[in-house]
């Protein structure tokens, strides 16, 4: 990235956008977004864990993979439309929702109430 210029010239991006001063914050915010997504997966896995331990453990393992994906080895992969990580997230989400659909009809396998 170019060095951060001071006040933005007229017609360009607003100078008070903090990312304009430090683009590294954009990367950090994105890593945090990946972390939140991994936590969402983990929450789903933990919720299923009580009723279907195997399915829940698989989703918990997937959340670890998602967390790892948020820390790419280098900047090279980001920015390409061929970046495979979003596709991986979508495939995982579709698989998990199909599993959830099956579970919603099968009913709880193990009741935590006894």
């Amino acid at each position: 990235m170019n060095q951060p210029p001071g006040p933005a010239p007229a017609g360009e991006e607003p100078g008070d956008d903090i990312e304009y001063a430090d683009p590294g914050l954009a990367r950090e915010r994105t890593e945090l977004a990946w972390t939140r997504t991994a936590i969402a997966f983990a929450a789903l896995g933990a919720a299923i864990l009580r009723y279907r331990p195997v399915v829940g453990l698989v989703i918990l393992a997937l959340s670890a993979v998602v967390w790892r994906l948020g820390r790419p080895p280098g900047p090279a992969r980001a920015g390409h439309a061929r970046d495979r990580r979003p596709l991986l997230i979508t495939v995982t989400t579709v698989a998990v929702s199909l599993a959830a659909l099956a579970l919603s009809f099968l009913g709880p396998g193990i009741s935590p109430l006894h």
């Binding site: 990235m1 360009e12 990312e19 683009p23 954009a26 990367r27 915010r29 994105t30 977004a33 990946w34 939140r36 997504t37 969402a40 997966f41 929450a43 789903l44 919720a47 299923i48 009723y51 900047p75 980001a78 920015g79 390409h80 439309a81 061929r82 970046d83 979003p86 596709l87 997230i89 979508t90 989400t93 579709v94 998990v96 929702s97 199909l98 959830a100 659909l101 579970l103 919603s104 009809f105 009913g107 709880p108």
Partner: protein, 132 residues
């Protein structure tokens, strides 16, 4: 900003005329938007599963929970796939300096949740008055 130079200032061309490397902040913002929609779809799946499994059955309407839960899970599926397609389209647009395509997801989500909400309200009313 009419063109998006690469990190070294010169346009970076992908392997197959893939456009130029956009400003990294736009790429990150696009990725965050995709991730936010992904979390939304996961929340829809969790909600649908919870309604189908944890909610007490509607009196007199044995399939009531599935009538609400299944569309929520399918909506989560649809939001996930659509958000991926829109992330890809936006990334292409960024790489070619074109205007971003308009997102259809807010419309999809608003209409679907309205319909599901109305169905839920109807089920709650029906089970309250007692279905013959």
């Amino acid at each position: 900003m009419t063109d998006h130079p690469g990190r070294d200032g010169s346009p970076v061309t992908g392997e197959s005329g893939d456009g130029a490397e956009p400003d990294a902040r736009y790429t990150f913002a696009n990725e965050r938007t995709f991730l936010a929609w992904s979390r939304t779809s996961l929340a829809l799946v969790v909600g649908g599963l919870a309604i189908a499994q944890l909610l007490p059955p509607f009196p007199g309407i044995p399939w009531g929970r599935h009538i609400i839960g299944t569309p929520l899970i399918l909506l989560g599926c649809a939001v996930s796939v659509t958000s991926y397609l829109e992330w890809k389209a936006s990334q292409r647009a960024l790489r070619h300096g074109r205007p971003l395509p308009r997102s259809r997801l807010p419309q999809i989500l608003a209409i679907a949740i309205t319909v599901i909400g109305l169905i839920a309200a109807a089920l709650a009313l029906l089970s309250a008055v007692g279905v013959p």
